[in-house]
Symmetry: C2
Subunit: 221 residues, 2 copies
DNA sequence: GTCTATATCGAGATAGAC
DNA sequence: GTCTATCTCGATATAGAC
């Protein structure tokens, strides 16, 4: 049986029984890709960072692209689950029809939590943001066509805004997503230069409130 | 004198006196980079598309990266000039202090005009959007540190919103920029899938109004 | 499972004829 | 200025010893 068999390619689920090497590679790759970009990180960089031998990537994952895709898939699922959970809880609190503000909070908060300075998933988020523009064809196909997770949010917003044509709601979802994707390192750096350091990006709760305030006003306009 | 001398590297300004080859390369490169990404386009692809020989890129531009940077610089200057002109005109109409809505229009409209289906600069815009994430180190340094053009907009917004702390205005500029950057082909495709085709991205005037409505509400919140 | 050594390939850059 | 042919490098992937 090949080690790239799906049943064994679970990494984080059972790190102690699976080859330790595989997790070392996975984590080193995610970190390096997030920091330096997909094309700027070679398999050699990854194996050196992980302290394992050069052949490990191909042995455990099949190829560099397959490794990229596995990181992408795992983190995407995690993020979607966090968001869906928050949306579900908001629906429970409001008899199935949460207000706009809580829907937007469920959309934004998981991302911002991951963005927190000390958070374990901070690099995962940068990885996912990079995947949108630097990803392989396979990743971009998934990103373009798999909207099942987003649809729960657009449906909830359409229900919460019955006076708005759905077309309008979709566009505003698009704008709100743009606000999230802007939170990559490079753009936050730029904001810091523009504001001469007065924007404090490590104040995650403040940022969440700011984003929800801005987007809520846009949706209710 | 080297053909990469700045004085002769003007391309569009004097296409008939400059080497025709240089402009063929410039235009083919911009189009291919915009469509397929910087790393996915080789010098061979460019010269084949332009119908010129392989050595042209290095002869006229010095290197692939230098070619990329020249496209980036020229289009950046053009876009900034369009925006600055609109902001200036809005200021003239309002005794030096334009309202939020007109400032945002000056920020958004040039980008959306370039995005129009038949517009000559449509691919230029996709190129610039790509430069933000796929660009060379040199490009990203410029993007991160050169905020002189943006500052005119943030200053105008701070003046138009005296009741808001500047910190808040800077964050909202950040959100508004995210809304613009979301208008790349891949994200528009995704929106189309999500909305099942009811969002008409070729209605540029409608999109401008939607974006200004959303952002203005966010700034006035 | 893990390592070293290497095959193979595609890229950017350049030399030198015309 | 333009072309062909080629140099050189860095990358992924893999063969095969241990």
């Amino acid at each position: 049986m090949s080690p790239t068999d799906p049943a064994t390619a679970d990494g984080a689920e059972a790190p102690e029984v699976e080859a330790a090497t595989k997790n070392l590679v996975f984590n080193a790759a995610e970190r390096l890709f997030a920091l330096n970009g997909f094309q700027n990180v070679s398999v050699r960089d990854i194996t050196a960072e992980a302290g394992v031998n050069l052949a490990s990537v191909n042995y455990h994952f099949g190829s560099k692209d397959a490794l990229l895709f596995e990181i992408f898939r795992r983190r995407t699922v995690e993020l979607s689950r966090d968001r869906a959970k928050m949306l579900h809880e908001a629906a429970d609190r409001h008899g199935g029809n949460p207000p706009v503000r809580e829907i937007l909070t469920a959309l934004f908060a998981p991302v911002l939590r991951w963005l927190s300075p000390g958070h374990e998933r901070r690099v995962s988020l940068q990885f996912l943001i990079r995947a949108r523009s630097e990803g392989t064809q396979e990743m971009r196909d998934v990103l373009r066509t798999d909207v099942s997770h987003l649809r729960r949010f657009s449906d909830a917003l359409i229900a919460a805004l019955p006076q708005l044509p759905p077309e309008e709601v979709y566009w505003r979802v698009h704008f709100a997503l743009g606000m999230i994707h802007q939170n990559r390192f490079a753009e936050l750096d730029r904001l810091n230069v523009l504001s001469e350091g007065i924007t404090r990006e490590d104040d995650i709760d403040g940022l969440l409130k700011r984003m929800v305030d801005f987007a809520e006003a846009g949706f209710l306009a």
